[in-house]
């Protein structure tokens, strides 16, 4: 058996620059502590999805989405519809915690005078580097940015993500093995008309039992973060969907409190 090294494409791309520029010169790229380049995989509802190599921290998320050099703005609406609005951005691969459009963060940053200052900034103004995204509660992760506009059903989106993680869990340790499929099943139910208003809390409670060092590897965290952040930031959508399902079921079903004889009476009264 020969030893095999499996390398990420991004790593090899970095190697190319380091070889070309030299290590010290390469380290000067980007911002302090967040040096070098990153390859951003921009996907979702932008005009120009694709791979863009950027200097770490020199570009904001807003620029990545809207700058003609990168995403070029949200995609065109269907004819006769109002222009699209941004709804959410997943900044670092599907496991990273989601940003809601219009979210504001208070970040401590080094000001121009070298002092640490607290600065409130919009989600779109976050520079795309490691530290800022972590400070904003997410991560740059695999630097795969997923942009979602207002056409997206956020519950469906989460169901899709959860399905992916349920499928990918290796099953070695208990919380991730059972939790990932449980969340996926709950979301499948919620997206197939069998939801409950309480499912939002239900999902978070399941997700809370997986991460935090309870699993062998980081996959446990990866599958629970999206659920935690989606439900936290779009809770009203989850509840609304569940409630709608509940109401629809209540109309279609016989009220368990009414006895058959009463039903008969009400039927004849009409």
């Amino acid at each position: 058996m020969c030893p095999t090294i499996v390398n990420n494409v991004e790593t090899l791309c970095d190697v190319k620059h380091i070889v070309a520029l030299g290590g010290a010169e390469y380290a000067k790229l980007g911002t302090p502590n967040n040096t070098g380049t990153r390859i951003v995989s921009l996907s979702g509802h932008v005009k120009r999805p694709g791979y863009y190599e950027i200097e770490t921290g020199k570009v904001t998320i807003g620029q990545l989405i809207n700058d003609p050099a990168f995403g070029g703005g949200l995609r065109e609406p269907e004819p006769g519809r109002p222009p699209r609005k941004l709804k959410a951005v997943i900044p670092g691969g599907s496991s990273a915690k989601v940003f809601k459009a219009g979210e504001k963060f208070k970040l401590k940053r080094k000001g121009p005078d070298g002092q640490m200052v607290e600065q409130e900034m919009d989600m779109l103004d976050l520079p795309y580097d490691f530290d800022s995204l972590i400070a904003a509660g997410s991560m740059s992760g695999s630097s795969a940015i997923i942009v979602m506009d207002d056409s997206v059903d956020i519950v469906e989106a989460l169901a899709n993500i959860a399905e992916f993680y349920a499928h990918e869990s290796c099953g070695q340790c208990t919380p991730c093995r059972e939790g990932s499929l449980w969340m996926s099943k709950a979301l499948h139910r919620l997206t197939h008309g069998e939801g409950r208003a309480s499912d939002a809390d239900y999902l978070v409670k399941i997700a809370d039992n997986i991460p935090g060092g309870r699993t062998i590897c980081a996959f446990g965290e990866a599958c629970s973060w999206p659920v935690q952040s989606f439900v936290a930031k779009f809770k009203d959508e989850f509840i609304a969907k569940g409630k709608a399902d509940e109401e629809r079921r209540a109309q279609g079903k016989i009220d368990p409190d009414t006895t058959p004889s009463q039903q008969h009476e009400s039927a004849t009264a009409h």
Partner: protein
């Protein structure tokens, strides 16, 4: 605390008023039952007692809606039975399979000794399969001791069909549905 009794009055000491009172009460009852027909006696074989809904009669085995044996021979009733009236012989590795899908197991023999049974209802309470019920029967008779030991067939015949959740059937249906779930094996 010491309660001092009231001293008896003369009338009480003479007993006579009490005796007269006794005569009155008894004659009233005697006349009422003799001519008024107001008796508390239930003349049993002709008149039958309306058994209250929570009555604990004889424990019988019941079948589910599809006529399958509900008991899975878990022997919890045998364990809990205070007078040790229940005896279950499990099927063993080579025994017959359960007569319903997915449940794997049913008793090879299930005996309740009604000479020992105290109708406490613990077997019904403990049964995880809702397979044993205390039904309304209260007049069990037999001519020999052997006759009073009811076997599985007899208990099932007496218990009849009793609905409720069909746990194992439900599981089987669930297993079939699994094929349609997006995350597959």
């Amino acid at each position: 605390m010491i309660v001092n009794r009231k001293p008896l009055t003369l009338a009480e000491r003479l007993y006579l008023p009490a005796i007269v009172g006794g005569f009155r009460v008894t004659i009233r009852h005697a006349l009422r039952s003799l001519f008024g027909g107001k008796t508390v006696t239930m003349e049993y074989p002709e008149q039958k007692w309306a058994v209250p809904p929570d009555y604990r009669g004889a424990p019988y085995l019941v079948k589910d809606q599809d006529g399958h044996t509900k008991c899975v021979s878990c022997q919890l009733c045998e364990f809990v039975c205070p007078p040790k009236a229940i005896k279950i012989i499990p099927p063993g590795p080579a025994g017959e399979l359960a007569d319903r899908p997915n449940a794997e197991k049913m008793p090879h023999e299930f005996e309740i000794n009604f000479l020992r049974c105290i109708y406490c209802g613990l077997c019904q309470e403990v049964c995880p399969e809702e397979a044993i019920f205390l039904l309304k029967d209260y007049s069990l008779t037999g001519l020999s001791r052997e006759e009073m030991v009811y076997g599985k067939e007899k208990l099932l015949a007496l218990g009849g069909v009793h609905g409720g959740i069909q746990k194992w059937k439900h599981k089987l249906e669930e297993a079939k549905e699994q094929e349609n779930f997006p995350v597959k094996v």
